[in-house]
Amino acid sequence: MADIRYTKEHEWVRVEGDVATCGISDYAQQQLGDVVFVELPEPGRSVSKDEECAVVESVKAASDVYAPISGEVIEANDALGADPALVNSEPLGAGWFFKIRLADASELDGLMDEAAYQAFVGELG
């Protein structure tokens, strides 16, 4: 089972082989409220770590989602088109956003593990 890692912008990433699945955290979906639309990157697009590559639209506002690591987008989660509410109900599972073929696995080292992320969120109050 791949380890989950988090960014300070509340994205998560799970790596299997050289493919990283990315989404937003449970904390993020709670803050956003009901998600009504997700704009995802096109497969084939190259993204750099921290580059804005998706937008999640909630009832209240649109929020940018950043690539947690660099690489090539190989798949976007089509299920979110029909059911954007998956982001709220299963943020770490079926509500994933996109998959990236990793360019540089060492970028994961700078991300927070589960414990570190929960501590980080705890401080946000």
Binding site: G33, D34, V36, F37, E39, V55, E57, V59, K60, A61, A62
Partner: protein, 370 residues
Amino acid sequence: MSDSSAPLRKTPLDGLHRELGAKLVPFAGYEMPVQYPDGILKEHLHTREQAGLFDVSHMGQVVLRGPDPSAALERLVPGDIAGLEAGRMRYTQFTDESGGILDDLMVLRREGDLFVVVNAACKEADVAHLTAGMTGHSVEYMGERGLLALQGPLAAEVLAAHAPELATMPFMSGREATVAGVACLVTRSGYTGEDGYELGMPAEDAERVARALLVDARVKPIGLGARDSLRLEAGLCLYGHDIDTGTTPIEAGLAWSISKRRRTEGGFPGDTVIRRQLADGPSRRRVGIRPEGRVVAREGVEIADASGAVIGRVTSGGFGPSVGGPVAMGYVEAAHAGEGTGLQLLVRGSARPAAVAKLPFVPQRYYRGA
């Protein structure tokens, strides 16, 4: 603008909101519930299906008294106040010398006075404006008071269980009624496009009335987030966004609130400008906008025509839960205001197709009974 370092004010229902698990945010200098645990989507849909209870106690309640408050108020608003029968209410605006809108308001004519409700963000300015403008009359800002809105198709049944006579009170009328043992001023009006009521009462009694209404399983508490999506779907203006000192009532599509007599006679600030726009048509108009896809276009988004020339701006926009897609309102140059006109919305650097849509986005369901 309120001083950001001043503590936020609380409505009389603050304790109840916290108890109900509300997410509180600053609004017009108050801490207000933007949503409760169910969330904005569910709160919005519930209001259109059953009954939603809103705390709008932050708004300003004002009483105007004197020898002829209607004539005096007509010097500040384009609405027909003199022709209002006792027990009836009307929507109007405070205008300035350029015909711009200082605030919008509701006016209820009572036997001996006028009862006015103004927006929270403008209430201090409005009271000063009234005081300066209504010479020979008294302007009493009622201070901290409770104001609850009960809106939705089941609102009448819910309220009738407390005061049966309220079921048949006409839309846009007001009367006294006792609800949960509290003497309330009740109007049949609202900001959602649904049937509904607003109840005013002393601050210390607000919680009691709210709890009595919430005991009914058909009633849920609703926050400002859903209040905004409900009024947007209903095509209703939000002051400071869809209307402000830079828009006239004619540009805003509110000419219906200015009667023939007032158009002819004038006698309110900006009457010349407004009369001219009524004769010649305004150069821009507020319209409903339906983005074609799923992308939401919010306030501030530029509107372009087919050639890419900017012809307007979105003033309110969001996701419409009852519509099931994005909805917006904005101003466009008059030539582009026809229903069905193709538009482009410049969202996050790219042009998204949209069209001018008829308002409201959902059918109005005001009470049309006897």
